[in-house]
Each structure stands twice: as structure tokens, then as C-alpha cells.
Symmetry: C3
Subunit: 111 residues, 3 copies
């Protein structure tokens, strides 16, 4: 099997933004995404906790990842999430290079 | 300390496939893996939800990651999971370049 | 918007080490981190399970990720966690290249 270059977008955001972010991802042409509940601390989490021990069990944030074949789509998702979701909320976004099998699974162009 | 090039394999699959995927990973020579419960939506999730809000709390999928020193092992894990697990089920796999400390922890060649 | 090169550090460790690792991250100059509960098996998990099926629901480990603008900070976090936390405990650390928006969010130099 052949591995193909693709881009992963990772978005760490407050849980309440999940639906809005999923809307942006779905309308971008991506065919799927994965959501993991997360805790944390810092500049990208509005939810500061004074007790350190609680960060592990505090799921006020989500970690959403989406893999797309096209770098331009990845950047567009990142830009839109920052512009439309992070004005009043904290959050971070980063892109990574990945290699995928079955690239048709990641674009809107059939299976 | 010195960082060494290695490959990470990420597998996002239906939860019921976890045991089969772990068998493939363990028999590949990898020395460990990490499993995180996940929700999501899309072409790589059989479990389509009509209600968006539920994707965060729906843990029908798992995100499994494994780091191996050898690119060929990473690709072999990817190939086998697609061939043996994804025939009747949806799921995605991607590889990433990583840098690791203590490479002996990631191969079968001692500590 | 412009994407900037940065480094991600991923630490997979026993849950009881979370507070100590968070101390190292916070004192490094990183402005935030994300913690996800995880299960798993292998050389990097002290908690070996004899029953495979339990790995998914066993959250004895955590997956901590932190993104920093500076490669030297990323390596320093990795080195310190290995030296100060992994002497008596198992765990793995790896670095990845990422591209970020809004780099000021990831350093200690203002917003």
C-alpha cells in the first residue's frame, strides 16, 4: 500500500465551541474528525484551575483532530476557527504533516 | 540527551476493533501503545450521529497511537490494520515523524 | 494568517506523575498544556494488564501535550521529564514539528 502526504489540523478549544468548530470542519470538505475530551491549563484555556491536581479530571476543553488531503483546506479550517470561534474564547490550533493510506477517504471526491 | 528519528502510527477505529488492533501492534515488535477513547463523525466513523452535540460524549471510537523506531514497522502496522480490520469497518490510519529519547524503549532489542 | 514553525512535546506517563510534569512544563516558559486520560500497554506503562480488553477503559496513564515556539524549550522539557520523573517510573516522550497561528500565545513574551 502507498502512503500519501496529507495535513492534520489539531484544535484545542473550550467544550462549548465544539458544535461551531464541527460546522466549520464539515463545510470545509473534510470527511471526518475525531473529538477527545481534555483538561489542561494555560494561555489557551480560559478555565484556569487553582488546584493543579484537578487538571487531569477536568474536561472543560476538547481536542479535535481532522486529517485532510489538501494543505489549503487545512489552513482554511485553521483560519476560520480562529476568526469565528476564538474572538471571545481562548484556544490553540496547529497543523502537522502526516502520511495516509486511502486518500479518497479524506477528500470529498468519492471513495 | 539525544533525540532520534522515529515514526508514530495513529489509528482511529471503532472501539470493538481495539483488541484485534492491539494484537497486530504487539506482534509487530512495538513495545507499547496508548489508547484514548474518542468520539467523532464522518467517513471514518461508522457511528454517524444525527445530533451534533453528542459527538463529544460518544466514545464509540478509540484513538490508538504507537511509536516505533523503524519506518518499515510503522508501515507494516498500518497495512495490516487496513487489510485485517477495516474490510467491514471504517477507520483511518496515519503516520507521523517524531523524535524520541531513549530509542531502546521502542524496539525489541533490550533496554 | 501566517503559520509559524513550532515544536510539540508529547509525554505519556503514569497519572501520578502529572503534577510533577506540569511543574516542569510551567517553569519552562510554556504558556499552556493539554492533558488527556489514556490507557495502554507496554514498556512505557508500568501498569501491565493481563486482560487485553481492559486497556481501553484503564486510565492509569495520561497523555500530556505542550506546544512551544522554541525547539530548545521543547528539548529541555523532554530532558527534564526524563531526568526528574522517569527514574523510577516508565513513560515516553517525543517531539513533533507543528505549524501554529498566533505564535505569541506560545511564548512568555506577551500576547
Amino acid at each position: 500500500m502507498t502512503y500519501h502526504k496529507a495535513k492534520k489540523v489539531v484544535i484545542i478549544a473550550e467544550k462549548m465551541l465544539t458544535e461551531k468548530i464541527c460546522d466549520i470542519i464539515e463545510s470545509s470538505g473534510a470527511r471526518g474528525y475525531t473529538v477527545v475530551p481534555a483538561g489542561g491549563k494555560g494561555a489557551h484555556h480560559r478555565h484556569f484551575t487553582s488546584e493543579r491536581a484537578s487538571v487531569v479530571d477536568d474536561f472543560a476543553t476538547v481536542r479535535i483532530e481532522v486529517v485532510v488531503s489538501d494543505k489549503a483546506i487545512a489552513e482554511s479550517i485553521g483560519n476560520k476557527v480562529v476568526e469565528e470561534c476564538f474572538g471571545n474564547y481562548s484556544g490553540i490550533i496547529y497543523l502537522e504533516d502526516v502520511e495516509i493510506l486511502r486518500p479518497a477517504k479524506f477528500s470529498g471526491e468519492g471513495d
